[in-house]
Amino acid sequence: MSKIHNKKIVIEVSNLRKSFNGNLILKDINFKLFEGESLAIIGASGSGKSVLLKNIIGLLIPDNGSIKINNINIVNLPRVAKENLLLELGITFQHGALFDSLKNWENIVFKVKNRKKLSKKDAGILALSIIKKLGLEPQILDLYPSEISGGMQKRVAIARAICGDPKILLFDEPTSGLDPVTGSLIDELIITAVKTVGGSAITITHDMASVCRIADKVILIDNKTISWSGTPKEMLKSKNSRIQEFIQSTNPKLFQ
């Protein structure tokens, strides 16, 4: 992944705490994402990774703490200002979350078409140019999400996320449920997407091989908080028992 040239902070999470009905999920979450940086968040299922992402994109409101995007705290930000700020983000959800009543091309250009009032023809051209970058066949544009494979759906979701060239990309388990070949293809797409957009990325994943491919920095969420952080190289050498468990359970060869 590209080195960090500029140290401008694009996302800063400070003292974040989140609970549901008194059940504490996250506490004392602090991290910064710099411009041009790719951050991977790892952790066991149910450790609160997706909850953290939903706090960052404003779908959940933290009990405590601040979340700054481009130095603007989105917690308690007025609705319209928050909506405008979130337009700067490109997001893929864990299961793609493609609109199943819309064709793939309509999914890809959804945000841009509504914002810029593009004609159908221009929107189609834009969708075509994006899927070409991601190595998808033009034929899938006129199909519905249910008519293409899971791997293709993930790629269409990435295409939707990068449409409009957002500077911050957020991916929630982009390779989950995919075979290793498609998974590594998705990793390449993320790397390409981040490079293409020239921005920063946060990727939530369980896949250690994927972390090593795409990340500049890694944080581990364990026991409701960030229990470890470092680079992928440091991660491979880490004596942290949880990190070792993760690496050995997903890809033992990485540890050798």
Partner: protein, 261 residues
């Protein structure tokens, strides 16, 4: 024994609190949706598609239901009112029953079953598959884009469906009266027109518009608040049909009492 009584009342209390909480949530949802209906942008294409779905595609089911109800009503009235079995009595009972109650209520219940279930399932599926979350992150407000068009279309369409259903229901009664009971068509038609009152039509329209609001709001509410995957979608669909139907039957009494009480 004491603990049993405490548990018993405690469980009733919890259910009451849950019910009040549900009412509060629904009221807030209702106010939010209404406020979004009056704020731009308006998604006219989506409203038109919903009008087509709710209005046009509900016509067969509404037509069949009211047609057979009108036929049954004519037959039963004839059998039940043997001492007064003349054209005017049957025509008047069919007309009044259809325009005041059966037309709006049967249309409301049919639309609740067909459209309410569809709305709830569609929105609930979008909710549990994170499509609604995705919509919010793509610069589109889910209430404005998904729910407001459905509510607008339902409130516009159902009064027209009721009007068509009423006409078909009266026609059903006419066919039975003329071809089975051998009534004089001129007298029957004259009686139908003579007893037709504006207040019946207005009341039917008001009921239908309120039923449209009830069906769309209840269905969208349960869909929008669905959770727990496929089970949640099933619950939202069932709850939307059951609650809409109960509210239709309750509100029809209240509206009737207000107009004719």
């Amino acid at each position: 024994m004491t603990s049993f009584i405490l548990n018993f009342w405690g469980s009733i209390g919890r259910k009451c609190l849950n019910f009040i909480s549900l009412l509060g949530h629904f009221f807030l949802f209702f106010v939010q949706v209404i406020s979004w209906i009056f704020r731009p942008p308006w998604y006219f294409k989506r409203i038109l598609l919903q009008i087509l779905d709710i209005g046009y595609f509900s016509l067969p089911v509404v037509g069949l239901t009211t047609f057979f109800s009108g036929m049954v009503l004519a037959l039963q009235t004839y059998n039940g009112f043997t001492d007064f079995n003349n054209e005017t009595t049957v025509a008047r009972v069919v007309l009044t029953s259809i325009t005041r109650e059966l037309g709006p209520v049967l249309t409301g219940l049919m639309v609740a079953g067909r459209i309410g279930a569809k709305m709830a399932a569609e929105i609930a599926t979008m909710k549990v598959t994170e499509q609604i979350d995705a919509l919010g992150t793509l610069g589109t407000r889910p209430m404005q884009y998904l729910i407001a068009p459905k509510v607008i279309a339902a409130v516009i369409c159902i009064p027209f469906l009721v009007m068509i259903g009423n006409t078909i229901g009266i026609l059903g009664g006419y066919i039975i009266a003329i071809y089975k009971l051998n009534f004089n068509p001129n007298i029957y038609l004259y009686a139908t027109v003579e007893y037709l009152q504006w207040i019946d039509i207005v009341q039917g329209f008001v009921k239908a518009a309120i039923f449209g609001l009830i069906i769309s709001m209840v269905s969208c509410y349960f869909g929008y608040n669905a959770s727990k995957g496929a089970e949640g979608v099933g619950y939202a669909t069932t709850a939307s049909v059951v609650i809409s139907s109960i509210m239709i039957l309750t509100s029809t009494y209240i509206i009737t009492a207000l107009f004719f009480g």
